[in-house]
């Protein structure tokens, strides 16, 4: 049986390993090394400066401003997206009125699921440009609507007070549909006799949702939380395309700081890599924290 095992293992494993090692692992490892140098771009000279870059990071006001925005996203994006996702998916999957104790989907749930998922298949660049036009102060869809009903029409992306929140709204808009479908699939997997028992006991709809459905979905919610938290630490494409961090740095995020430091007017590769290392540890600790904080006993049916 063992005959001929190793030729296959080597042919199947070495090419992917090489590709992955060259383009993924080695850049990540080099990034840690570059972050301890004062490398200024295309010249060959890069001196080891130890942790100086990280010391400078601590005094970098622009970076802290970006970190603050990412932390706001980190709290609000998962909360809003998961709340809306659970709300809509419970409506879709258990809002039906017919006999089976309210565990059937509403009429047309298929059409809703089709439409809600639209943003998920569009590229983030398209979403960003589309919403930039929707937010356009003069000829955008949003302000046209507001003017039609006689409300004031703000400049949205042009106003430091609203730009960040306008982008956050787009992030939520783009993510909710995916989680409606994800939670919906998990809800369908809950055995229906549980709901029948709950209904026989006379539980209200709200009690059913909070005491039965959500606890049973906890694994999925936890996964959603981690993915959204990681997405919240990014946000680069939307911000770059919609506001470029402005106006007046009001919507800046760490990814954009890093990108502009490395590939903007100045090519401070050492410093940019240090920002990347900070992002790495932020992402890692957020994932670990989310796993820890939401750990519960796993529920398995049957």
């Amino acid at each position: 049986m063992k005959h001929g095992k190793y030729p296959l293992i080597i042919t199947f494993l070495v090419p992917p390993l090489l590709l992955y090692g060259i383009f993924v692992l080695s850049p990540y490892l080099q990034a840690f090394q570059i972050s301890t140098t004062n490398w200024l771009g295309y010249s060959a000279t890069a001196d080891y400066v130890g942790l100086e870059n990280f010391g400078n990071l601590l005094r970098d006001g622009a970076l802290w401003n970006a970190v603050k925005n990412n932390l706001i996203l980190l709290v609000l994006l998962p909360v809003l997206t998961i709340a809306l996702g659970l709300f809509f998916s419970s409506m879709l999957n258990m809002g039906g009125r017919r006999g089976t104790a309210g565990v059937v989907g509403v009429r047309g749930s298929g059409a809703y699921k089709l439409v809600y998922f639209f943003p998920q298949v569009l590229s983030v660049v398209i979403i960003a440009l589309l919403w930039k036009e929707v937010y356009h102060p003069n000829n955008g869809l949003l302000n046209a609507t507001l003017r039609a009903v006689g409300l004031p029409a703000p400049t949205w992306l042009g106003d430091p007070r609203t730009a960040f929140w306008a982008v956050l709204a787009v992030m939520v808009w783009a993510n909710v549909g995916f989680y409606v479908v994800l939670f919906g699939a998990a809800m369908q997997a809950i055995p229906k006799d549980i709901y029948e028992a709950v209904m026989l006991d006379g539980a209200s709809r709200w009690t059913t949702l909070t005491k039965v459905t959500i606890p049973l979905l906890w694994d999925t919610v936890q996964v959603a939380w981690i993915y959204l938290a990681i997405a919240a630490l990014d946000g680069f494409i939307l911000i770059q395309q919609m506001t470029d961090g402005g106006p007046n740095h009001s919507s800046d995020v760490i990814g954009l700081r890093m990108y502009n430091t490395a590939f903007g007017s100045e090519t401070k590769f050492g410093y940019a890599s240090a920002i990347g290392v900070v992002m790495f540890f932020l992402t890692l600790s957020v994932a670990v924290l989310a796993l820890r904080a939401s750990r519960r006993d796993r529920i398995e049916y049957s």
Binding site: M1, G4, K5, L8, I9, F12, L13, P15, P16, L19, Y20, I22, F23, S26, P27, A31, I34, F88, R97, T100, A111, Y112, L114, Y116, F117, F118, P119, V121, V124, V125, I126, L129, L130, E133, V134, N139, L141, A148, W173, V181, L182, Q188, P191, K192, E196, L200, R205, V223, A224, D234, Q241, G255, Y259, S273, G276, V277, M279, F280, T283, A287
Partner: protein, 304 residues
């Protein structure tokens, strides 16, 4: 997964029908009131999702004058010349083709390397297996930003800067962690008895993989291919760093971003809307046709 839950639903519905007595009349009334609300909210979100897309689509037929004067109005005529202008002058057509070439190459490479590596991890015992596996899968945790600067130089030193080959290799490399993770789990769910029988019958290890295991893994391969297709098609950060100069080689996302910038100078609103529509329609069309597969393909990755 889907087959299991439909059968469960059928059996529970059959059971519930026999039991619909007078006992659940009170709860039913309460839930009925909520139903009106639920439909209202569901409809509102459906409008929020579709209106912006529909607006861009309609605006792509408008003249610039119509766009500026009346954002809510309908186009006076079906001006397909906007689409033609975006397709040729803004080169959306060419960028579309470029994206197709790059993704065709990178998706093939991703699936080939991902499936073979995952198969080895799932089905063979060898030294350092766990180490290699976690090395691959660990890549899912890293933010791509950390790698950008060194990656730029790795690609440039390999002579692959501003080339499609470079993009193809890099796309595939960054898709491997998830693909390996997903496919390893999938290969592990396949029964071992078939493989053992084939080996006893004298089937070689390579033949076993291509003739027996790969066809058996088709559902998993389709899911992960859909996932990878969308993420590679929509990729923006990697080409922005690795394909900076040569405009004629740009991918679609870059072309659209550039169109938005030049629109800002020229005020060609209709051209931008037409470009966005051209970028959206094919993806949405494919999605509507294969909705079930795409939704389960994208969500399966997170449920595993």
């Amino acid at each position: 997964m889907t087959t299991v839950d439909t059968s469960a639903r059928v059996s529970s519905e059959a059971g519930a029908e026999g039991r619909s007595g007078a006992g659940d009349r009170a709860p039913r009334r309460e839930w009925g009131v909520v139903n009106v609300f639920s439909h209202g909210f569901l409809l509102l979100w459906a409008l929020l999702t579709t209106l912006p897309l529909l607006w861009v689509f309609l605006s792509s037929f408008k003249s610039d004058g119509e766009i500026l004067s009346d954002p809510w109005g309908l186009p006076g005529a079906l001006r397909f010349e906007n689409w033609a202008r975006a397709w040729t002058e803004a080169r959306i057509g060419q960028y579309f083709l470029n994206s197709a070439v790059v993704v065709a190459g990178s998706l093939t490479l991703t699936m080939l390397f991902g499936a073979t590596a995952a198969y080895v991890f799932a089905r063979y015992e060898f030294r350092f297996r766990q180490v290699f596996y976690y090395l691959f899968v660990g890549g899912m945790m890293f933010p791509v930003f950390l790698a950008l600067v060194p990656l730029f130089f790795v690609v440039r030193n390999a002579g692959l800067f501003n080339t499609w080959t470079g993009l193809i290799l890099v796309y595939a490399a960054y898709s491997l962690p998830f693909t390996v993770f997903f496919m390893t789990a999938f290969f592990r769910t396949l029964p071992t008895s078939v493989a053992e029988a084939a080996l006893i019958d004298g089937c070689g290890h390579f033949r076993l993989f291509f003739r027996v295991m790969l066809p058996m893994a088709k559902p998993g391969l389709v899911s992960v291919a859909i996932f990878n297709f969308l993420s590679q098609w929509n990729q923006f950060i990697l080409p922005q760093v690795l394909m900076q100069g040569d405009e004629s080689k740009w991918v679609l996302a870059q072309g659209l971003a550039a169109l938005a910038v030049s629109q800002g100078y020229q005020g060609d609103f209709s051209g931008l809307f037409a470009g966005l529509t051209l970028g959206m329609l094919p993806v949405l069309g494919v999605y509507v046709l294969f909705q079930r597969q795409i939704q389960s393909g994208l969500t399966a990755g997170q449920l595993k």
